[in-house]
């Protein structure tokens, strides 16, 4: 069997000349990048730089004005509405505001995401897998708690468990630590690192530069809609926009 180097792997996400315009405002301009399987990357940049727009393009919440967005072999830029679910099952999403359903317990929130995407999963199996996912994020003992009974960090862990329970190849997180204190933010970040270690590609949009520096992973820097810097893992000591 031939040796395959990391850079030769088929990219899980690929942006080719992507441009996104809102009216007169250019949110993303001529973006090119690739994310490889199992890679943890950070997306940084000032507010309004286009980070959320980039993540929404991956999940096909919006379409690019120009260019191509490929996710695990699917053309997100040109996908019919009928095939959107297929794309979204490949992408786990985590938000700053958690987006948990308040009338469901932590376990039910996770199981809900599992069962609405795959009707073949029985209640017992869904619950078992939800508890496994909660266990993996360190929340097994909070499975029967409702979101309002959990701290912000715990709610974010539930949201991460929900995003990964169906084992998608890609996880995108939009400011996952934005509502959390530094210690909790660090715990969440190490959790995302663990997820990447098990082979899931993780892309995190964040303002939290301390975490970016500590984890020393690949960093894509956006400014005014353009990727102005793409630093490989281990070299994120100097970031253009943060240090300027």
């Amino acid at each position: 069997m031939a040796d395959v180097t990391f850079s030769e792997l088929t990219p899980l996400v690929e942006f080719v000349g992507v441009n996104r315009v809102y009216g007169q405002v250019v949110a993303l301009d001529d973006c090119f990048f690739r994310l490889l399987p199992g890679e943890l990357s950070f997306l940084v940049g000032p507010s309004g730089a286009g980070k959320t727009t980039l993540l929404r393009l991956i999940n096909r919440e919006i379409k690019p004005t120009r260019g191509e967005v490929w996710v695990d072999g699917l053309p997100a830029h040109d996908l019919s509405a009928k095939r959107l679910a297929e794309l979204r099952r490949k992408v786990g999403v985590v938000f700053q505001d958690f987006k948990l359903l308040p009338r469901l317990t932590a376990a039910e929130n996770v199981a809900f995401a599992l069962q609405v995407t795959d009707l073949r999963i029985a209640d017992g199996e869904a619950r078992e897998r939800a508890l496994d996912a909660l266990d993996a994020v360190g929340l097994h003992d909070r499975a029967e708690h409702y979101p309002h009974e959990l701290s912000g960090g715990q709610q974010q862990r539930v949201a991460i468990a929900r995003a990964v329970v169906s084992q998608p190849p890609l996880l995108i997180a939009d400011e996952p630590t934005g509502n959390l204190d530094q210690e909790t933010a660090w715990q969440i970040s190490t959790l995302l690192e663990d997820i990447a270690r098990f082979g899931t590609t993780v892309l995190v949009a964040t303002h939290n530069m301390e975490i970016v520096h500590r984890l020393q992973r690949r960093v894509l820097t956006l400014s005014a809609g353009r990727i102005v810097d793409d630093q490989p893992a281990g070299r994120s000591a100097r970031l253009l926009w943060a240090t300027s």
Partner: protein
Amino acid sequence: MGNILRGPRPPRWRTVKVVVRNTFRYLVGGAIRNWLRNFGSTAPALGSMTLLLLLVGLGLVGAVVGQNIANTEARDASVLHVYLRDDATTDAVNALEAQLSGNPDVQSVAYVSKSEALARAQNRPGLPQLADAAESNPFPASLDVKIRSVDRVGAVDASVRHNPAVDSGVPSSYDPSAYRRFQQVLFWVAAVGIAFLILLAFIAVTVTANSIRAAILSRRDEIGIMQLVGAPRWMVRGPFVIEGAVTGAAAGALSGVLALVVCVFAVQAGASSFAQIAPGLTLKAGLVIGLFLFLAGPLLGSVSSLGSVRRHLES
């Protein structure tokens, strides 16, 4: 993270059972649960849809009656009743009958005696009481003349109305404009009725679509999560379409029962009064109309909500 891995594949029958149960629970169970929870916002849609379907039902009752009257009118229009004087001699009547039989426009001639006329009247709703109320037989003898073409009824009437055997007061049943007038009235009643139903259908569909929109807004968080995790489109939209169908089914059942009650009353009232309230209307026709409304309700509800879902639920 390693222990989230899936176990061995379960047997096929169990998978099918789970899929059916989950589908029923998310689609039908979810729809009924939300319908009950959102009943406040669904009630106006239920009311307007019930009203629409009830009016459609009453329109169908009217159509059955109108069709029956039209058939009777068309049949009667080619039959001319020539009323005979009470004191007309047998010879005069025979001569008149022979004259009519010799007319090339006439297909057949039949003599109806006074007692036969009375017997016929007793078979018509309302008339038995009138016949019983009179001390003597009020119905005249007549010649029932079947004309080959409706257009020639007037000519045949003109050839016999001054015959000495014919009653000079009411010589015949011929009324040149009655059939045409009836057809015109029927046309305009149908046209106005259909226009009114279209307007009402528009209102019902709009109100239903708005109630579904309210249901979508009240569940937008759940819908958002379902869409983000990759729930199939039919699973996101299905419960709302079924919710609309449930509203339609309730409206259909309500209006179907009401229409049936109206039919029963009309048939019973027609059988026990002088005037024939709804000629041709039977309980069987009422049941068919009720069943039609019961089936039309869910269809109307699901189509209305499908339109709303397509408009208000983004992918």
